[in-house]
């Protein structure tokens, strides 16, 4: 078998670990997308979630921090998870896995995780209320972040 023409790419078929990680990230981003899409739809199509003794979703979702300018935070989540999902699917279906794209994915995952951490901190320290839908999104972004770091480490080692 001739050597790969580009030292920065991994040959296809790749090792199973990389594919499993890519599929895992796709799954996490799909969950995050569905969650964010629900919140975005709620923002535009429905009356507010009722105020409930059991949770503070209404407080979080109607707070001043729920918007970035004219854009609901939930919509930025939709965009983020869709970008990650299709980016990962591109990597999964590509003939060769370019390491720079894997690192770009890790960078994307880091940005998403950092944003989620900021939003969760705002809920805890400024709004003093937690929303389970936002928590699910934070969990998705955390799992994407961990998986993407693992993926880039595995790719670096040529797993």
């Amino acid at each position: 078998m001739p050597p790969s023409p580009k030292p920065s790419t991994l040959p296809s078929p790749r090792r199973p670990l990389l594919n499993k990680l890519l599929l895992a990230i796709a799954g996490f981003s799909f969950v995050g997308f569905a969650d964010s899409a629900y919140l975005t739809a709620d923002h535009y199509l429905a009356l507010p979630l009722p105020c409930s003794i059991l949770h503070g979703c209404d407080i979080v979702l109607r707070s001043a921090y729920s918007m970035i300018g004219p854009i609901p935070v939930a919509m930025t989540g939709v965009a983020f998870y869709l970008v990650v999902l299709f980016f990962v699917l591109y990597l999964y279906t590509a003939d060769t896995l370019e390491k720079r794209l894997v690192y770009a994915l890790a960078g994307l995952g880091t940005i998403g995780f950092a944003m989620s951490a900021i939003f969760e901190s705002i809920q805890i320290y400024l709004i003093h209320a937690l929303c389970q839908y936002c928590a699910l999104s934070a969990l998705s972004s955390a799992l994407i972040f961990i998986s993407a770091l693992w993926l880039s480490r595995a790719a670096r080692k040529g797993a």
Binding site: D42, A46, L47, S52
Partner: protein, 225 residues
């Protein structure tokens, strides 16, 4: 190559299905608050309740509300619209259900409305508290009366000194507690919670859904008040 195409088709299909399902759920008015819905009942409307609309109607709409709850505030324009459309055929009542666990000013605002009621301006204060919800909800319970509610009382022509005294009166506090008690007995756990003919309905997610529920009650020959 065929496997790659399958992956993309499945992914795009999944995204489209999610978007369609969420959109359909919201547009059909079934999303949101129905997951924990229990069709409980509440005591009949009495003279102790605050009533507007047609008090002799066979159909009643009771709201358990919290003046500090943003969702209750968002429903108020719909309630006003319902009053205009059904005011001659439906009895509307409001009962206090202050979510004091999450809304610091919920209790004091309920007492303020009741205190205004003692001077015959319950509904005026009720409407004003919702209209100006964004203005006063940031204030602490210790200062919200002097900073905001006294001004509202004045604008409604109330005797402010009496209003302030009534807010803290045992009778007013008891009225709020009585409402809270009937809500708790009916397992109300969120606001607003609506009851048509004393039976809880899922929170309507549109004006059309609201009118549909009321029209059904009006059409029902077994309607009880």
């Amino acid at each position: 190559m065929q496997r790659k195409q399958e992956v993309w088709v499945v992914a795009i299909f999944a995204v489209v299905v999610v978007v369609a399902a969420i959109g359909a759920a919201f547009l059909s008015g079934n999303a949101g608050s129905t997951s924990n819905f229990k069709a409980t009942t509440v005591p009949a409307v009495t003279s102790a309740d605050h009533i507007r609309g047609n008090a002799s109607s066979t159909v009643s709409l009771i709201e358990y509300g919290d003046f500090e709850c943003p969702a209750c505030g968002a429903y108020q324009p719909l309630i006003q619209q319902l009053l205009q459309q059904y005011g001659d055929r439906v009895e509307f009542a409001f009962r206090n259900f202050p979510l004091y666990q999450i809304h610091p000013d919920a209790m004091i605002s309920a007492q303020a409305a009741e205190a205004a009621g003692l001077q015959g301006k319950y509904w005026e204060m009720h409407d004003l508290l919702y209209q100006k919800q964004n203005e006063w909800t940031a204030a602490s319970p210790d200062t919200v009366v002097s900073k905001y509610f006294d001004g509202y009382a004045q604008s409604l022509g109330l005797n402010v000194a009496r209003f302030d005294a009534d807010i803290q009166s045992a009778a007013v506090k008891q009225k709020v507690q009585d409402d809270l008690g009937t809500g708790n007995a009916a397992q109300v756990d969120h606001t607003p919670t609506f009851f048509i003919n004393l039976t809880q309905i899922p929170n309507p997610t549109s004006y059309a859904a609201f009118t549909q529920a009321i029209d059904a009650a009006l059409a029902s020959s077994t309607a009880v008040k």
